[in-house]
């Protein structure tokens, strides 16, 4: 006893921090975990569980003969995957072309939406009469219910009765034959227009919010140094918006790559090859042929691809910012 009581003072400096660390643990350290547990469990149930089930599905032969009783579906091993990535077969080939269409679509939609959003946000940064009204106006596509918005576009894109052909050919008298918008190759353009129309207000909203946090003194100071608007935008706005941009572009990329609503509502049951986005393609692959194992395998591949892209993107972006 006495030894122990004597010795501690000498070691006090090193012991005390340990004790301090341990003290919260000793009573009720589990409380935060317990409070978090329901949330974690729901996340597991809502996010992870379906993912795991999806991955399991991709390894079984879940065709319509077994759909009523999943347990009886035979294991397929990697068969679903080998069909999917066999790009000489019809299934693989169409998946690959759908993948390329989706890549092109995503780059164009994200790029153009970002540009439009940025332009609008910068223009509306200045105070002028009617600014609030225009801001609200710009946000309408984002606020509209998805289905209602796209179905309106679908009507407008009709060949003989649609507003777009009417405007172009009957009002502006563009020469030539009225084109189909929703079939053939022009369906890509139609889909692009609708997707940008829906997405750019989001970019606008985020960038507008980001612009509020840039102090006006910086602009004033640079103006004193003789910086023109373009230089100001490039050297002040862009770098200071970087944190917003990093997240914004990532989110827009993921949304657009997984876009299902736009082609589904626009094309219904007969998707043209040029409008065959990958999420829609997977839906068709599994629901039309009742082959859910194959659809699951495609989904898993899509998931891996998105994880890879997101990972690389974040590493590159973070490394750059650390270097800077």
């Amino acid at each position: 006893m006495s030894v122990t009581t004597v010795e501690p003072p000498a070691q006090k400096p090193t012991v005390r921090p340990q004790r301090k660390n341990r003290r919260p643990k000793s009573s009720g350290w589990w409380m935060p975990y317990a409070l978090l547990a329901p949330a974690v469990m729901f996340v597991l149930a809502i996010q992870v569980l379906p993912m795991v089930i999806g991955i399991c599905m991709s390894f079984i032969k879940l065709t319509k003969a077994f759909i009523a009783n999943w347990g009886s579906a035979p294991a397929a091993g990697l068969a679903n995957y080998s069909i999917t990535v066999d790009f000489n077969s019809a299934v693989g080939k169409s998946l690959l072309s759908s993948f390329f269409v989706t890549c092109g679509f995503t780059v164009l939609v994200v790029g153009l939406s970002w540009m439009l959003g940025m332009a609008a946000a910068v223009v509306l940064q200045k105070q002028f009469w009617g600014r609030g009204f225009i801001r609200t106006l710009f946000l309408i596509p984002y606020a509209l219910p998805v289905y209602a918005g796209i179905i309106a576009w679908k009507f407008m894109f009709q060949k003989d009765t649609g507003a777009i052909n009417h405007f172009l050919f009957d009002n502006l008298h563009v020469g030539g034959e009225k084109p189909f918008w929703l079939i053939g190759d022009s369906s890509f353009v139609a889909m692009l227009i609708v997707a940008i129309w829906r997405l750019w207000p989001f970019a606008f909203l985020m960038l507008m919010a980001g612009l509020q946090s840039i102090p006006s003194e910086v602009y004033e100071a640079s103006a004193v140094d003789g910086a023109k608007p373009w230089r100001q935008w490039r050297s002040i706005t862009l770098p200071m918006l970087k944190p917003v941009n990093v997240v914004l572009i990532l989110v827009m990329f993921l949304w657009t790559f997984n876009d299902f609503n736009t082609p589904y509502v626009l094309f219904g049951n007969s998707q043209p090859p040029a409008g065959d986005l990958i999420a829609f393609h997977i839906y068709n692959a599994s629901f039309l042929t009742w082959n859910f194992g194959l659809g699951a395998a495609m989904s898993v591949l899509l998931l891996l691809f998105l994880l890879l892209v997101t990972g690389i993107y974040l590493i590159v972006v973070n490394r750059r910012s650390r270097r800077a």
């Binding site: 759909i67 009523a68 009783n69 019809a90 003989d160 189909f180 053939g184 039309l288 082959n291």
Partner: protein, 434 residues
């Protein structure tokens, strides 16, 4: 302390599970009905609109409730959604008790094993298999197996024509494909096209791929059930149908976007003299065209080809195997296929009877009814009764929609391209079947 932690964790887990359990199956009211006094029934869109179906069916369901005390919850589902809805029901097990299916899906759905087999006992409960027309009963499932559906309404494809427009041009109703084309050519003038197709609907396209191939004597599946879509007869058949728009130019290119009743409206309005449709009389009449203003003939085959004008199309009734109220469901099937209900429904929907000895009453003139019944009884060949039939419809039908799109936007589709597209469809079906 560890014990306390564990109990806390267990309590929370139990709580989470309990909430999760609350969220699941209880939604389907039919499954936990008290004493089997309720049935859920999914009806297909047979009439001119979903509301029309509801209007026609509700009085019959009332009658059934008075008779048996079983209340029927009705939901009418459009054709674009019905297959997906059935799929979801099969997958999740949260199904209605009784459902309408397109009879061409019968063997596909049979292979899921989710439907009640109509064995002898079940057949007896619904009034015996003898009461049905043989041609209709053949559509109930794959040959040699216990069917999982029973015929409800019969339909056939026919070529409907506008009598006044034909008389004006001095034309007779066509008897061969060639006559149909020449009549259509004569009637294609001044912005008007001779024939209207539902070229945007994948199922209609698949049906005509089948019919034209069958006229050529080609089969879609070989004896082992393997798809043979890319055979010469099928390619030629598909080409013949596409050529109505492509080389004969008697079909309006924008028909490629028609996937519902739009063509019927134009026909009834006198804007197009001929239309292909499956017992669309009630829709035509509902649009205000009078029965004596139009006629119907079988969809003609080319001279020298097989005389096949349609398949025994229609709607069948299936009972889900996991119904909690099997007796009630069978009683309901018996009621729906009884001659009294059949007469009432066929009259309102303008569909053909599926019972022996019954006469179609939906048309004022029995002449048209006779034509349609004749097609049903003598000029019909069933679509392949194999499990992959629905996949034929979706893959080939959609491929044809794409081909029509190409034609409509001005490019030409040759035989080689058709064969390539059909080969792709064939591989898709083989991949998911094998």
């Amino acid at each position: 302390m560890t014990i306390r932690t564990l109990t806390a964790a267990a309590a929370i887990a139990a709580l989470a599970l309990a909430t999760a359990a609350c969220g699941s199956p209880s939604s389907s009211s039919s499954q936990n009905s008290e004493g089997g006094k309720t049935l859920t029934y999914w009806a297909s869109n047979t009439g001119t609109s979903l509301d029309h179906d509801k209007e026609v069916l509700t009085p019959q369901l009332k009658k059934f409730e008075e008779k048996t005390g079983i209340k029927v919850d009705l939901e009418v589902i459009g054709w674009n959604d019905l297959q997906t809805r059935i799929q979801t029901a099969v997958t999740s097990g949260q199904a209605p008790d009784v459902v309408n299916i397109g009879n061409t899906w019968a063997s596909s759905l049979q292979s899921t094993g989710a439907f009640l087999p109509m064995d002898e006992d079940a057949m007896k409960a619904v009034g015996g298999s003898d009461k049905f027309l043989e041609a209709a009963l053949e559509t109930a499932g794959a040959p040699g197996q216990v069917p999982t559906s029973l015929p409800l309404y019969g339909m056939v494809y026919g070529l409907y024509y506008n009598k006044a427009m034909f008389a004006e041009a001095g034309l007779q109703p066509p008897k061969t494909y060639e006559e149909m084309v020449s009549a259509a050519k004569k009637l294609t003038k001044g912005g008007q096209f001779g024939l209207s197709l539902r070229a945007g609907s994948y199922s209609t396209n698949a049906h005509f791929a089948f019919l034209n191939s069958a006229q050529n004597g080609a089969e879609l599946f070989d004896a082992d059930g393997k798809p043979t879509f890319a055979s010469d007869g099928v390619v030629a058949g598909v080409k013949r149908y596409l050529d109505l728009m492509q080389s004969e130019k008697v079909v309006k290119p924008s028909d490629v976007q028609v996937d519902s009743g739009q063509g019927v409206h134009e026909f009834a309005a006198g804007k197009v003299p001929m239309i292909l449709g499956a017992t669309i009389d009630s829709a035509i009449l509902a649009d205000g065209m009078k029965a004596e203003e139009y006629g119907v003939v079988p969809y003609p085959a080319p001279a020298g080809a097989k005389d096949i004008a349609s398949f025994p199309a229609g709607i069948n009734l299936s009972v889900f195997k996991n119904t909690k109220n099997k007796d009630g469901a069978l009683k309901f099937v018996e009621f729906m296929t009884s001659s009294e209900t059949q007469t009432a429904l066929n009259d309102k929907f303008g569909t053909l009877p599926v019972l022996k000895g019954a006469k179609p009453t939906f048309l004022a003139d029995t002449e048209k009814a006779k034509v349609l019944l004749d097609i049903y009884a003598t000029q019909s060949k069933p679509l392949p009764l194999v499990a992959a039939e629905d996949q034929f419809e979706s893959t080939v039908g959609k491929a044809m929609t794409q081909l029509f799109s190409k034609v409509a936007s001005g490019s030409t589709v040759n035989e080689e391209e058709i064969r390539g597209v059909l080969e792709t469809a064939q591989q898709q079906v083989a991949a998911s079947a094998g």
